[in-house]
């Protein structure tokens, strides 16, 4: 385990390096922040002056090395648009997005777990069909459409919950529902098919034949085995939630990291996007590490390598 972690740590450094090169390159391809800042009648000379002041006039390799050498010590530069430290701007947004992600994950599990288990236990029954259908409704509607409809119905018509923004839990309910229903369908279906698969394996059949007809035991066995793909997907979802809540946060004007990303990208605010992606990269590395370790714990047949 110790050497495993040590090796992963070394490889992680390479992952971060790879991410930084790619993001830096993609961003420079995406345009020029000064174009967006200047008045419409600005001349080419004005652009050159502004680029020089912002350090965007240096050759790209020099800019990259400057970025890298500072990033190593945690300095991701200053936001071009907002003139604030980029990393701090990202860090300020993480709690809001984590709150949203956590609650939507709870929503997803609340929907997915019972539905998934029920439909796997009674495959092709009415309950199964209904649960598949329910899970699918959430999955088949574009996120932004669901969000806007929820706002129109719950906030405008019924006047039950605020339409937007961050505040108490009442502000979180609609966005969490919007975000959670999508993951719910995914987890529900994966859970169902995994449990079905496990229920069909020899050892469960044997267990059943031996008279362990107790559903509870079956579910426990099945869940444990079905956990692998589900954990994998959950791992994917956590990082996807962080950057994937872009649409939901935009619809609900929710001041999380996703909204920051989409706006920083729109403004070509390179330092903020770079800081954002490096934070995500670190999270992805940690999550994947945890997922790999959990594999080993859940399914002893899996040897941890790499």
């Amino acid at each position: 385990m110790g050497t495993f972690l040590a090796r992963r740590l070394i490889f992680s450094a390479f992952v971060l390096l790879g991410v930084s090169v790619i993001v830096f390159g993609l961003l420079r391809l995406s345009g020029d922040p000064t174009a967006l800042m200047l008045p419409i009648d600005a001349t080419e000379e004005d652009e050159i002056v502004l680029r020089r002041a912002l350090g965007l006039d240096e050759p790209l390799p020099v800019q990259y090395l400057t970025f890298l050498s500072r990033a190593v010590v945690g300095d991701f530069g200053t936001s071009i648009r907002h003139r604030q430290p980029a990393l701090q701007m990202v860090a300020e947004r993480i709690p809001a997005t984590l709150e949203l992600a956590a609650l939507s994950f709870v929503v997803a599990l609340l929907i997915a777990l019972p539905l998934g288990i029920f439909s796997a236990l009674y495959p092709n029954s009415f309950i199964d069909r209904l649960s598949v259908l329910m899970a699918l409704v959430g999955q088949a509607v574009p996120t932004f459409l669901l969000g806007i409809i929820l706002i129109l119905v719950v906030s405008v018509q019924l006047q039950l919950l605020p339409a937007f923004g961050r505040g108490g839990i009442e502000n979180l309910i609609l966005p969490a529902l919007t975000l959670g229903t999508y993951s719910a369908a995914f987890i529900n279906r994966l859970l169902r098919s995994s449990i079905l698969e496990v229920l069909d394996t020899d050892f469960i059949r044997t267990a059943r034949a031996k008279g362990f007809a107790n559903r509870y035991i079956v579910i426990r066995h099945a869940l444990k085995n079905a956990a692998i793909p589900v954990i994998t997907v959950m791992g994917l979802q956590v990082s996807a939630l962080l950057s994937g809540s872009v649409v939901t946060e935009t619809v609900f004007a929710y001041p999380g990291a996703g909204l920051l990303l989409v706006q920083a990208l729109g403004n070509r605010d390179f330092p903020v996007v770079q800081a954002f992606v490096m934070v995500i990269a670190v999270l992805v590395i940690i999550i994947n590490l945890v997922v790999d370790v959990i594999y080993g714990l859940v399914d002893p047949r899996v040897q941890i390598t790499g």
């Binding site: 790879g18 999955q139 088949a140 129109l152 994966l190 098919s193 069909d200 872009v246 047949r301």
Partner: protein, 305 residues
Amino acid sequence: MAESLQQTTVPQLATPHAERRTRPRWQQNLFALLYDPVTLISLIVLTAVIVMAVAAPVLTPHDPELQSLRLRTRPPFWLMNNEPGYPLGTDALGRDILSRIIFGARVSMLVGIGAVIIQGTIGVLVGLMAGFFGGWIDTVLMRLADIQQAIPFLILAVAVAAVVDQSLLNVIIVLGVAGWVPYGRVVRAEVLSVREREFVTAARALGSSNLRLIFTHILPNVAASITVISTLTISTMILAEASLSFLGLGVPPSTPTWGGMVAAGRDYLATAAWVSIIPGIAIFLTVLSINLLGDKLRALLDPTL
């Protein structure tokens, strides 16, 4: 061994090929499939979508890009004040929604299937190799997946849109390239658990080559997961296209896509809901059908059955 190989070559969607199989189990399954009303309805919906996609120019009553501002946001036939000849109403530029739905089927299916083929191919190959060979290959591939996963696909989409003009092909490629990681990880995870099973170790002991092991023993066993993910992601991709349109990074707007229509119509939800809701229903039905069918297919493909 031979049996499982054949099973994996069955195309992802049910096609007439399957009927030529003479194996009793297959026949059984197929009959079950066709007698199941849910499956049948799904099949009908999907057939309709595919027919729309293929024969769009013949089926449309109007040019999907022809606009008439004077006819903007006319409601569909079941509402008051509708315009004869425009059964599903018109959008914000007075274009015929029915015609755009029909043409949109083509684009949306292209996006969905195209992106899934790209990401599936990359992801499954990576997952198989990583899981089967383990060691440094696994390490390198999985760290590559980490890199891909850490880069929000929006950045890729923004960069591509800036370098080349927005187009259908670019959207497909962006979605395809950015989406292989889930396949890679799930397939790898499955392979990890399959490769230690008795029948694989037995085959290996009998001297099977790696390639043979992967494609005859491992792949069939992870096919169920791949199918589930693929069907789910076809719909995910159709929806992702909608999200891209929402963020202004989608297919050029005069090209009708369902996602683009929903996105463009969202501002009208309070006043002319059909502009957005009707393509939303098209997406809903298609996604539902694909997923229901994918579920059935999973049962058929699962070698443990």
